[in-house]
Every structure is written in C-alpha cells, then in structure tokens.
C-alpha cells in the first residue's frame, strides 16, 4: 500500500497500533481511510454538510483523546463510528433544544449514501429523499449494514442495542423504503 492511497480495512488495526505508539504518519493514513465513511455517516445523521464537517473534526479530536480505548486487533471502523456517533449525540444534546432535527428541504439534502439494496428501486435523488423520510433509528441501522458493511453484532455494539434489534430495524427500514419507492413509482 502506498502512502497516497486510502488504506484497506485490514490495514486499519496496524495503523491504529502505530498511531497509539505516537506515529503521525499513521494518523494521516487512518484519516485517509476513515474520513470519507465518517463524513458520509455524519451527513446521514445531521442532514447538513457543514454541520457534518464540523462534527468530523470534533470526531477526530475525540478519537485522538480516546485512542487508548481502541484494543487491537479489533476492527477499527465500529470503534471510530461509535465515537463519531457520540460526538453527534453530544452536539445534538447541547444544541438540539434550539435546533431540533427537521426534515431537510429537498435542495438541502446532502450526499447521503444510497444502499446498494435500494439502488435499483429508483433514481438516487428519489431514494435519498425516501431515506430522509425514514425514522432515524431504522435509517441508521440500514445504512450501517448496507452501505458500510457492518455486521448486526457490530451495529448492536455501536448503538448499544442487541444485534437482533439492529437487524429488525434495518429490515423494517428497507421494507419501508421499498414501499415508499413503489408508491413513488406508481404515482409516476
């Protein structure tokens, strides 16, 4: 793997170990591997690209402060996503009373990822709009599994729920997404 490429997922634990040893280069490689999915994840939580960018910075700072809590050779992504989610929740707690989550206007929809399972249902914009209308809990489990490839056990550990509950949420969200898309297609 060369230094200007995103590291593979299997390389992340070794990079984390090097980062824990204090190597700045390892942090930079980790950033290259983690920033894109974390940015997408935070966008899917906040529905706001600018807020997601702010939270991404905070997430990496928190990740740095909490780097000792990573235990090799565990997968790095669930650990990093869990920290990013906590940053989002803390931000929402402090800010949420005055800036409640509202359904975003169509033109505000950020580039939230579209699960492959829903890719053939309609155009990406329609799927994004339908995703935005899903309950947040279901949408989160759906995206974590179908976009970022987490197992339901990992999603459970990340969200603090049972793996079975995560699976049920994702399944229901996908079914709701398909129903919405079917309705949209029928109208068209």
């Amino acid at each position: 793997m060369s230094d200007d490429q995103e590291p593979d997922e299997e390389d992340l634990p070794a990079l984390m170990v090097a980062y824990q040893r204090g190597e700045l280069a390892a942090f930079e490689r980790l950033y290259a591997g983690l920033a894109p999915p974390l940015r997408q994840y935070l966008r899917s939580l906040t529905f706001n690209a600018a807020t997601a960018e702010d939270l991404l910075q905070e997430a990496f700072l928190q990740l740095h402060r909490s780097r000792r809590t990573y235990r090799p050779p565990r997968p790095v992504k669930p650990w990093a996503f869990s920290i990013a989610r906590n940053v989002y929740r803390m931000d929402r707690r402090s800010d949420g009373r005055r800036r409640r989550h509202e359904a975003p206007a169509e033109e505000d929809l950020p580039e939230i990822p579209v699960p492959a399972a829903a890719d053939d249902l309609a155009g990406r914009t329609e799927v994004r709009r339908a995703l935005a209308g899903l309950p947040s809990e279901g949408r989160e489990s759906l995206l974590l599994h179908h976009v970022w490839g987490f197992s339901f056990g990992e999603i459970g550990g990340l969200l603090g729920i049972r793996g079975g509950t995560a699976k049920l949420r994702a399944h229901r969200a996908l079914a709701a997404l398909k129903r919405t898309m079917a309705g949209t297609n029928d109208r068209e």
Binding site: D4, E6, Q20, R21, G22, E23, L24, F27, E28, R29, Y31, A32, A35, E53, L56, Q57, E58, F60, L61, Q62, H64, R65, S66, R67, R68, T69, Y70, R71, P72, R74, P75, P78, W79, A80, F81, S82, I83, N86, V87, R89, M90, D91, E154, G156, G157, L158, L159, G160, I161, R162, T165
Partner: protein
Amino acid sequence: MTVNDPLLDKLRARITPDLRPVRPLRPAWLRALTLLPWSLLGLAVLTAMFSPRWGVSALTWVVSGVQIFVAYVLLWTALREAEPGGRPSGLALGLAAGAAFAVPLAVYLLILHAQPRPMPAAREWRVGLECLSVEIALGLPAAALGLWLAQRGLPLRRAAAGALVGLAAGVGAVGIWTLFCPFTSAFHVLTAHGGPLLLLGLAGLFLAVFVLFRRRL
C-alpha cells in the same frame, strides 16, 4: 486526497503536540478484577476492626461470594459501556441494574428463611447506623476506583455507567458486610443495607453525569 485537505492540516496542528505513545486499555473483564483485591482488603480491615467471624455458616460465605461476584459483573458491564464499539445493549444494562437490587434481596430472603435473627429493639438504631456507615465507607473507595477505571475509557451513556459503578460498589460492600451483620429484621435490612446500595448507585450516577465524565468536544 490527504495532501491538500484543510481539515487534515487543522487536525495535524492540534494533534502533533499531544502525540505521546499510549498503551491500549486492557479488556473490561480484566480491569474489573481490581474489585477482588479491594474485597480482600475490605475484609481484612473489617476483620481487624471488628471481631473475626470465622464461625459463620457456609451459607453466609457462599451468599457473600455471590454478591461480590455480582458486583464484579456490574463493574465489568460499566467498563464495557466505556468501550466505544463494544457497548452492551440497553437490556443488558437494565438487567445488570435489576440484579444489583434483586440479588441482595434474594440473599436476604434466603438468610431470613435459613438463619433468621431478629434485631434486639434496644440496639436497632445503633447497629443500623453502624451498618450504614461501614457499608458506605467500604463502598466509596470502590466506587472511586470504578469511576476512575470507567473514566479512562469513553463512557457513552454516562448516567448508566456511573450508576452501575456505584451499584457495583454497593453490592460489593453489602456482600462483604454480610459476613459481619447477622440480623434479618426487614426494617434493618432495607434501611441499613439497602440504603447504602441506593446511595452509592445515586452517587455514581451524579458524579458520572455532572463531574467526571464531562468531556470537552
């Protein structure tokens, strides 16, 4: 991508001065074992302060050990809550908190059934205060140790983690003191033994939420 990323530049500037090596935390089950030396130390101190009760029945030793084991499980659960990506489910947290009250209650009912010993009315308040103060004195260092261990991680549900640490200290203290207090009067058990358990749980919760686990983001 990484070369001209302004966010990476900012992060690099913030992180570089604090890039000292760190050792990964040990697994939660291993860190929770610190409860064992605390239990032995507590037992030794109490034995030195009060008369040794080596003549207590095997049942008392067993239920004391069971309660200390439950305290260990509670602390382990709290420390897992402080591990990002490995958090226990809400159900597991609820079951652990329920066990913190259910197990001492079951132990009390068992001892009441097997070895009932009513409290002499004249000594009720004095003994009650003694049990209360000893259990709190025994539990506070354990709670402090547990909160420190949890604080080294990243407790995400701060209230739950703090309450579980406090309850672990409380159940452990009740478990050790079971060897020294033979009385089974319901009022005494509920106030002098249940009281410290509840107080330590609440203390853990408030310390976690308002003092210790507040993190700058």
